[in-house]
Amino acid sequence: MMRPIMLKGHGRPLTQVKFNREGDILISVAKDSEASVWYSSNGERLGTLNGHSGAIWSLDISPETDLVVTGSADFTARLWKTMTGECIHKWDQDAPVKRVEFSPDGSKILIVTEQAMGQKGKIFVYDIDYTKNEQSTTPILEIVNEDSSAEKFSVAGWSYGGFYIIAGHASGKISKYDAKTGELLNSVQGHEQLITDVQFASDRSYFITSSKDQTANMYSVDTFDQLKHYSADVPLNTACITPVKEFVILGGGQDARNVTTTAASEGKFEARFYHKIFEEEIGRVKGHFGPLNYVAIHPKGLCFASGGEDGFVRLHHFHKSYFDFLYDVEKTALATQHSTIDA
């Protein structure tokens, strides 16, 4: 049994929630224009980041938790001081910003812009200077989607060391770009439909992608081989890899436009736990009454947060039974290891 904390900071569907490196701070963004900063231990709201004039699609927190970057439908990405909530910089773009992420060392950010308004979908990389507020507005790298709009970027993230940028496309394709030169290194048609999320394992050497085609896949950054495949019965919006325990958490639900015609009990608005190795579903957590748009796991695996289409963030602190859980084969392996009775 877990007692979730419901965080009611937003009036519109959540788009992303993220923990900082230590896991004590949780930041959520939604389709309303204010980001909320929370303490993860008790769900207290520390403050809001006010300034955007449109839906905020994405956020990220710098490794030291001193800065936050957000990307919004108002054609800007903004940089904030986490401590005071003050906006210190703004990058103006020509299209809505769909995704932002700090590189693992925090020295750069990537910004994914939507392919819309006659603009091509692009990934920009900017340098971040921690010593001053004003940041460089000239990107150090620009990756442009030269293909049709069906191939536009939907999500992107940094691999280990910030060496590569992994991008997910609307067509279900996953690409690996060199983060220095922007050269396309590898590409694989991993899914059949829009890739909704890409999240990395804690060492960033492999990642999980989720897609509207009701599946989630795990890939190695180096070889780009598909390591694992998880299938669900609803379109997936998000997937994350848990540290400590060998699980993945998938989130999704029926499309927003069909939600009003579905009962919450049938909508499958649950966080699904799969075993990372055996690819089998091992449990679900109920609670949302809309699809899950994002799930994030505490960096030490102590709790997970889910942001839903219903406007709530639900923060679940795991109980002991979660950490004690062992798969049947893991148990027997443990037993035979110590056993002197031969089978």
Partner: protein, 275 residues
Amino acid sequence: MSTSATSWAAEEVDLQSQITENPDGTKTIVSYKLNDQGQKIKVTQKIKLVKVTETVDPAVAARRKWSRFGNEKSNTTIGPDNSTTIYDTEVQLILGSSWKQDALKQAEEDSKASVKKQSTLKCRICQGEHFTSKCPYKDTLGEDAPGINKDSTESDASIISMGAGGASSYVPPHMRSRNGGIASPDERRERDDSTTLRVTNLNSVVDEEILASIFGKFGSIRRVTVVRNRETRESKGFGYVEFDTIKNAETAMEHLDGKGFMNLILKIDWSKPKK
């Protein structure tokens, strides 16, 4: 212990409290005080002091002291504010490859429990769900009603007393049987333990499944239990295995008694009935 509300006399009696240091690190405080009726009451308190040391990252500790900003700037609530933070009802996360069946079973049990709850209240006159004294048909049906003064054919927990004239309807817990009626003494020991083995000196990591897997080789098993601590669910190091036949239980005992399993030597004997 509050002494503020009591008189000076009680306070004086209170001074006679004895503090004993137990060998396991706990303290037992025995004190006496007077209650409202002037009776002397013995109060025994057992106290265990636990020192909890928490190590916090300095950066995290610094962030804990940040002042609020944005929409929360003028909020002076200490700790989480009810308007943004709600502690929701508990949710269950059953982990396991059979989580679906487990969840179904749980739901079934819940519905069963709710049905039971409903049936605990039953009117003796009209069989409705209210107290007999509040029955709307009390005057019209009266004492000649079908339910009254007759022994109920169904074994329903609700109707405990059938006796007229308001004889004591209380049945002490140990006299109650499972289905609600009065249990006959021989009915109380319902389980036949003749095929049950008691397994002691088990490693604490051994659970029911592992136990079943090693005993399953000697015959079909009806029931496996590992005795656990009620709070921590940690194994107490012993358990019970019930076989289908005494013969199988005997062979299992022959083969496994005194054998090493997970670093400990198993001890197996027949389960002894409780006295």
